[in-house]
């Protein structure tokens, strides 16, 4: 894995996490009555933009490496997403859930190292 591939992989991860946080924030608006579309639209649009950036960065990486070696990079995202969700969306997790997320991350790290 070269430095350029690594940087691209990390950048694609950041786009993915940012996009998902925006998307969750947007979808939260749809549970309100009446739905505040003016609040929903910009979050949704920015979320789609961030996820599109992730998609093309990811597509570029797939051209240069095996899927089963690249894919574990996405394993960083559950951990990053949970930090983001706790920090920006005020989602609360029990210690048990944190443990589960860490297990998932660790499992993915083992998969990537193999």
């Amino acid at each position: 894995m070269t430095t350029a591939l690594l940087i691209t992989a990390v950048a694609s991860q950041l786009c993915l996490v940012t996009g998902q946080l925006l998307m969750k924030h947007a979808m939260n608006q749809t549970n309100l009555t009446p739905v505040p579309w003016a609040r929903f639209a910009p979050r949704f649009a920015l979320g789609v933009a961030a996820l599109s950036a992730w998609f093309f960065l990811w597509g570029g990486l797939l051209q240069r490496a095996d899927l089963s070696y690249l894919f574990p990079f996405e394993g960083l995202s559950p951990v990053l997403i949970v930090f983001g969700a706790a920090l920006f969306l005020k989602e609360r997790l029990t210690p048990q859930s944190w443990f589960g997320i860490v297990l998932i991350g660790a499992g993915v790290a083992v998969v990537s190292a193999s």
């Binding site: 797939l62 899927l67 089963s68 048990q96 589960g100 297990l103 998932i104 499992g107 083992v110």
Partner: protein
């Protein structure tokens, strides 16, 4: 005090499960499309744009859009940490299907990692399932 009392409906779990399957299919199609276009000039591959030259990529996009719709429906009713954590089942499905369908290698160590991911999934899923049974 942190709580895991979020109620998770069978409907939103079904949306999430469908999304996980669709994204797995999409990843396999993207890999096929990317492999088919890997020979194109480097300038076109800077942001992976050239993957669009393959029909497999477009099938992958359709499958990805389907998974996205299911994902958004699940996201409406589930906390992000739980929805995204459960989507890690894709981390299990992709190496297994890459091995099965694309002939990529699957070592004993990788199988061990897959088992750890599965254990993590059970740990985060159990409180949500239990809270539904109580309600």
């Amino acid at each position: 005090m942190p709580t895991n009392s979020e109620r998770v409906s069978a409907g939103s779990l079904a949306c999430l499960g469908g999304a996980a399957l669709c994204v797995t299919v999409a990843e396999l199609l993207f890999k096929r499309g990317a492999t088919a276009t890997a020979h194109l000039p480097a300038a076109q591959t800077l942001f992976g744009i050239s993957v669009l030259a393959s029909g497999w990529t477009w099938l992958g996009i359709i499958s990805y859009v389907a998974s996205f719709v299911g994902w958004l429906q699940a996201l409406r009713r589930m906390p992000l940490y739980l929805a995204f954590g459960l989507m890690s089942v894709v981390q299990v499905l992709v190496p297994l299907t890459s091995w099965w369908l694309l002939g990529e290698s699957l070592s004993l160590r990788r199988c061990g990692g897959i088992l750890i991911v599965l254990a993590g999934l059970v740990v985060i899923a159990r409180p949500a399932m239990q809270s539904e049974e109580k309600l």
